[in-house]
Subunit: 384 residues, 4 copies
């Protein structure tokens, strides 16, 4: 009989909701589970949201102060799904309370806060995992395996982008995601963590960054429509990057990419092979094997659309391995990875250190955009 793992969830917006459903679904996807996840408490800013969330998922209680979750002995995992500016305090408090922490990206509002969080996590024995859920797309896991096998060879160049179109309408009211004091930045801090992490995960660490950011819509109506508020964050950020291993490339994050839906894309050119992936086509990984024999008229070289299966991070029992998967599936695999790390005392992956590395790239990019020159990531060495 596996032991229970009590979960306290902070926040029940889009992320909180899918996390809660994910914990409830784990037993259907992985068998056996190494622990028995139990939804104990949910903390939300509004009573109504809390009551609804409790009923929807079967939490034992809801509350308005996250510290009530930290006090509970039957809760050992805190899942943090709140706006960026709240991360630092909640996470540090949770670590201090001896809770494992599962935190939505980005790790924090800025590099300083991220470093503080990581300092505490390093001093503690709790497990801390950041939600870079796109690492758990079967196609991306397969890409990681290929990279680890050396199938890409020397990296020449890469193109990365995470493109949304949700803020093109200038009449869309302001949200916390458009305010620097709540989000820490704009498109880059919102969308950037996924694509920055994915590229570092596959290709190794970045060395330096050059960036250009732009705000298209500088004023938006307030939520109640009664006022006009300033947008002080980037709508588009374009980065050039150099990898430590020598490769060069670009990343674009945009909330003004007309016609896109949830387009996270990577292309990597290496001496031995090339990778292409697009989140809108998540069931396939495109791979070009440059080491295949080249014949003038009888070769077989070409991009292959590799069938990637759902048996990740280890063979899932469900659903059919050849059926299509979508966005919610990757959260479930990410959560499975975390509860397994807790149950079996494995290092969590992606860790808060990975979150910190991403935060450093973002900080460097914002700095570069201001200064108009390359920023060496080593110049932002953590003071911890």
């Amino acid at each position: 009989m596996v032991r229970p793992l009590g979960i306290g969830l902070i926040g029940h917006g889009g992320a909180g909701k899918i996390h809660a459903l994910g914990y409830r679904s784990l037993s259907s996807y992985y068998d056996p589970l190494p622990v028995d996840p139990r939804l104990v408490g949910v903390c939300t800013s509004s009573e109504m949201t809390g009551a609804k969330a409790q009923k929807e998922h079967g939490f034992e209680f809801h509350c308005a102060d996250y510290r009530h979750l930290l006090e509970r002995n039957d809760i050992s995992l805190i899942d943090c799904c709140v706006p960026n500016f709240l991360h630092r305090d909640m996470i540090i408090d949770a670590i201090k309370a001896g809770k494992h922490v599962y935190c939505e990206k980005p790790l924090a509002m800025n590099l300083k806060e991220a470093e503080e969080i990581v300092k505490f996590s390093r001093q503690s024995a709790v497990k801390c995992q950041i939600v870079f859920n796109y690492r758990f797309i079967p196609a991306v896991m397969r890409a990681k395996q290929l990279a680890a096998e050396g199938a890409l060879g020397e990296i020449f160049s890469f193109r990365g982008a995470y493109l949304h179109s949700g803020y093109i309408d200038p009449h869309r009211p302001i949200t916390w995601r458009l305010q620097r004091d709540k989000a820490g930045g704009g498109a880059l801090i919102d969308l950037g963590p996924h694509i920055i992490d994915m590229l570092q995960y596959l290709l190794g660490e970045f060395n330096s960054v050059f960036a250009n950011t732009k705000t298209i819509t500088k004023r938006r109506p307030s939520k109640d429509g009664q006022a006009v508020e300033e947008v002080d964050v980037d709508d588009i950020a374009i980065l050039q990057l150099k990898l430590k291993n020598g490769g060069i490339g670009t990343i674009e994050t945009s909330r003004f990419a007309t016609g896109t839906n949830d387009d996270l894309r990577i292309e990597v050119d290496g001496s031995k092979g090339s990778l292409v992936f697009n989140l809108m086509d998540p069931n396939w990984l495109f791979f070009y094997d440059a080491t295949e024999e080249d014949k003038p008229t009888g070769g077989r070289k070409g991009f292959k659309r590799i069938e990637t299966v759902q048996h990740y991070p280890e063979p899932a029992v469900f659903p059919y391995p050849k059926s299509t998967v979508g966005w919610s599936r990757f959260h479930i695999a990410s959560q499975y990875q975390f509860i397994k790390a807790i149950a079996l005392d494995l290092p969590p992956e992606p860790s808060f250190e990975d979150g910190l590395a991403v935060q450093r790239v973002i900080e460097a990019a914002y700095l570069s955009s201001e200064q108009g020159e390359w920023i060496d990531l080593a110049s932002l060495v953590p003071k911890i």
Copy 2:
């Protein structure tokens, strides 16, 4: 406070599992729910499977005889996920017991059984819905709307296929799906219902059928590998069809389609427009509007990859409308449709009548393949 809807599930293979998870997930996808689905009992042929299913989903009990589910007053919905040859008796018993029935496709082993089932369902007030879950793909719902708006015009021809590759290995042991006395047929009765129903749903009823079926691997090892068993069903079935409205076309169902995964595809050519859809690319519907103005050098005609959203069958509250969806999502929408039909006393859709119409096409196809000539569907008029 919505009233509870007690559910009894028969069978916990692939279908049973996704249904059970679906009921549990409904509250996250649709808000508010018109009833509160409760997993009461699960019936499986093996005690071990039953105990596991109970634990996995939180059923109150498990049992080995489906009649225990029918006896319960706190169960009003019977979900039937068992091999085809068991459908007839279980469904008729459930209807007699006054239970609503949600049944996996095909409705029955053959036309005679399907007619018997429908006869009972017509005499009863219970709701009966068949699982043609691909009707609930947002792209397919959008296709239905376009068809209903007349955006296709007169149907010229269509191409349909449902292609799998799972049985190509001749060493794969026999299963009930390869035995006529358990399944009623092969690729056609297994994969055909989805594609036959989808085309009738979008284009109207078929009038006549010509078919050719083929068995590639005629003998397979038994499950224990100790014996060799005959395969007496089709591995591939190719149908030509005529629609009542005059359109003509083809359907291929194959379990020997090398390189395919879960490739249900349709193409429809009409006087006003054309549709293309592929289940392996479920987030898009391709539509060609032939009524747009044609200019020699400045036209805009072309296939459009329509963004289809997840707000089906009515706006779902979850997940993000622009994220990708996969196979499991369509079950959830199908189940929502059924519980809503029960709660609000609406006609279930797709109904057992739709299941019967599909069964008639399958029966005609098998007959045609034997006789080598067109079979008029009217010649198989139900005797009910």
Copy 3:
């Protein structure tokens, strides 16, 4: 110094034009040429067209009677680009005059005429090649190599289609292509030869055929718009076929395929591999190698988009091998194949025998559509 090859062209519509340009372009594409093609005479029904064609391509003369071409000693190749009903007499006269014949598809109006043509060609030493130019798409040549290497294994099933949309407008006036006494049939005899030949070329001979044909627009305006004329040929033809080797499949030819342009498509499922090709995407061949090792989480199986180069039928010197090619390029390769057959006394490929084999399938299909049953191709054994 290579010897000249004098060419007489009959007809200067779309086909004649591209052939004439092709001969003129050969020296740029293949180096060295085994003969020096010279455009000597062009025969057209109208004086104006003939004069224009002469000037456009640099023919030495034009004429209105094809027999003037046959009389010339400096013409040794007759290229036949006239409506179907004119093929028989012109080709037989050309063969009798000792000219090599290059003939646009179909070989003739019907099976009887095709047999007569082939009878004469067999009795003569002249070279006769039919224009199945799509055999010369690099991707198709690559497909042929793969098939010849056994990379497909046992053929399970196939899907073929050649889809156009040019006749959907009911106001488009009648043309000879819509008249049985001039064309011998409709969509099937016009588009069918390409797709029927391609499948036989890749997969082997057909054994039997079942077909359904349909005329959508039964009356059209005459060319001058003053009268209404009957359309007595098929707008759509759908065939089911059995290969001698056991594989089964379909071919659709349609002039009413809304939204298509020049969509010749094939899909072949075999025990060892699968092929996909579409003429609208002519630079790629999609191939699935089913013999690659299957690993649960680390496989590389998938459809590969093989880069096919332009070095066909033998390495061309031009243009860049990685640039895209389009429709006109395949004619040039086909013509090169023919002049090489003449110069080096090689068997022409595709031969008139290949044209006859296609004609037999078409004849069987029309017969089947009338009779509503399978037609065995052996029952149409040539009487020659």
Copy 4:
């Protein structure tokens, strides 16, 4: 009767060859032609190449000194297809001799030479057109029309790339394209003109540039394999750009893009619409109309694959408008544009001024890469 236009071609490598074939093919593609192009003389560095070129295309003579072409009264168009370092003198001499000049990209080795060329062209009445042949892809012409109609709205961001893979093999010997003193640069000056011009053509002028260049293979064997030579140009160049109208974006040019063939790609995001094009898929333009009505469940928004036809720059008579086209076709349209400009005294487009504008971006990019900062294009104002 149209008057003849005598043509002198300098260079018979890949570009010279396609140009020569293009002139010869014009009469088949456009009818009537406003002049009658006649291949008079060809100048090549080697006698053997010259003799072959003469024979291949029917030139009246060949020569080794381009001044022989300039002396001829029966030559009025000089077509310049030689390595970059030879452009300046030949073009200026041709202009001085009163010849119209058609010049392959780039206009010159560097900005200074380009400015000198343009100075002379401005002082002369001859027509000068640069070969940006990709402007003449039907899909690109259609894109230009859409941009001109305002269908893109305000430009938010863009992604451009021109990716080749031809130099990945480190054993490939040095060529003039890898030597700064012959080519003026590497991937950027070779591939960049096409993509830089296309973006400026569609979106307007650039304002400033930031670039990073990289040489992967720094030494290569000499042509005879006996020595090792330095590569002093870029293998990859990545640019960030700002448009005068405010849009921002990237351009990558690479000769080390593994798995690519001839991949020129653009993506443009605008407030009213979005464009996507890829030269490897040249028959389609993808367009997203953001002004279409958005409905929660019944919208038709999406990327449309616009059918673009071959009737450009004005309706061509050949080939079939729905057939696929490839690389060589765009040269023919570009050449038609030029001979029409000469015949009808129209401004040539793209002009040498367009070539100069591109050269300025390239010069700025190389400067930026050295200095690590943004370069304002206005700071490179021509001194002419």
